[in-house]
Amino acid sequence: MRTVAVVGASLAGLSAARSLRKQGYDGRLVVIGDELHRPYDRPPLSKEFLAGTLGEADLSLETDDEDLRAEWLLGTRATGLDRTERAVRLADGREVRADGIVIATGAAARTLPGSEGLAGVHTLRTLDDARALRDELARGGRLVVIGGGFIGAEVASTAYTLGLDATVVEAAPTPLAGPLGARMGGIVSALHVDHGVRLLCGVEVKRLSGDERSEMGVPPDGVRGRVDAVLLEDGRSIPADIVVVGVGARPCVEWLDGSGVDLDNGVKCGPDGRTSLAGVVAVGDCANWYDPRAGAHRRVEHWTGARERPDAAIATLLAGGAVEPGVPRPPYFWSDQYGVKIQFAGHAAAADSVTIEAGAADDRDVLAVYRRAGVPVAVLGMNQPRLFTRWRKQLAAASS
């Protein structure tokens, strides 16, 4: 293999580039990124960076003395993959021919239809998003967060520490019921109420209202004035100076349409990141890996997956698919909200029972174990890093 192109320059792409060098690949390495920035860490964007306690230099994922001997093509988006030429086509007209291709194009924040061009409305995914939102939060005002998931909850928590008046609107009856189950989702999302942040559940957003111009659709200049309220389906109107839309992310794989790479909720992958095309693997948020433990494909959007899975995918790429993939650790993610460290590992949806093994829900210091037919399948910690890690190790041992 003489050239490997890594498409995507965030954590998964950087981890793939590192894995290539660590596993002995000595050839040409091209890393393509649509953002202008060198790889940076995204989790702080909704927390310390947004709060202003971490700066941009702190976000860098690379160390000062690191040299991956890579060519960095940043600020240029991949627009196509040509399987016969084995080339990645770029938005600026260039193309990169490569024997091996790593797809790591991540996911993009979902937006609210009809909110285009309305000032004061944000999503939070990139450093540029975070800069813009941080500047607005610094001016203060009334914040409405649409979506009570982790991004939305973290933004509300950060806004609370900055002294803003915040409201969280969640369409489902309980926030976080998907990742944590309804009972624990209720306990974790009660953190909002503990801190005087309004939490409105079970109600859909009808639309955003702005100034007069916005009532007539998007004017030719695309600028519609500023948001002033979030209108709910039940008729309520929530005044808003700033709106953050946190309604999930979609995998960035449009550029692979017609390439021959099988797509299904992202790039459909084997248990080692291999795709339907030889010499092409996929990692990170865009990759829908087969999970042998679940017996199904799962697209995991966690930091730890983006960090760990490239090791296996690169081993597969370099061996031409001749390696047996190991069983991955159970998926793990964390969140920080209102000073509480929230940690979760495993799959909540697989559980038929949840028990609190330590701490107390009212004190928000819970260690909860999810079981299926008596066997632990997931664990949740709130301010319980020590016990949580023990359970996380047990989960991994039980499933390997």
Binding site: D41, L54, T63, W303, R386, K393
Partner: protein, 120 residues
């Protein structure tokens, strides 16, 4: 400076013992029976590495999964970028002692700021 930590028999393999000094230091007893001492605080953010995941000669931070090599203190996995300080371990009469490094620690920004604020 040599500081007694605990008796060797009281620290099973696979476990860690934290010394509540400032900044805290932890002694790790690996599954292979080796002993290592490093600064307990992750260089990325305020977390106790003694609470982390010990595997071989590597400890993973319990919060954000940074990994450190216990032998050298080097970062094996991000988000941490700076190594943890290592200390010498001496066992005398069945008691584990730590000879503290004279090097400057790499504390995370939040802890460093707190210490700086406290001394002002």
């Amino acid at each position: 400076m040599m500081i007694p930590a605990c008796r060797l028999v009281d620290l099973p393999r696979g476990e860690a013992h934290r010394l509540d000094i400032d900044p805290p230091v932890s002694v790790f007893h690996t599954e292979d029976g080796e002993l290592f001492a490093i600064d307990d605080t992750c260089t990325h953010q305020d977390a106790s590495l003694a609470d982390g995941w010990l595997e071989g000669c590597e400890v993973e931070c319990p919060l954000h999964a940074s990994k450190f090599d216990l032998r050298t203190g080097a970062v094996d996995s991000p988000p941490a970028k700076l190594p943890v300080r290592t200390h010498e371990v001496v066992v005398e009469d069945g008691v584990i002692h730590v000879r503290l490094s004279a090097a400057a620690p790499n504390l995370p920004p939040c802890v460093a700021a707190r210490l700086a604020g406290g001394s002002a």
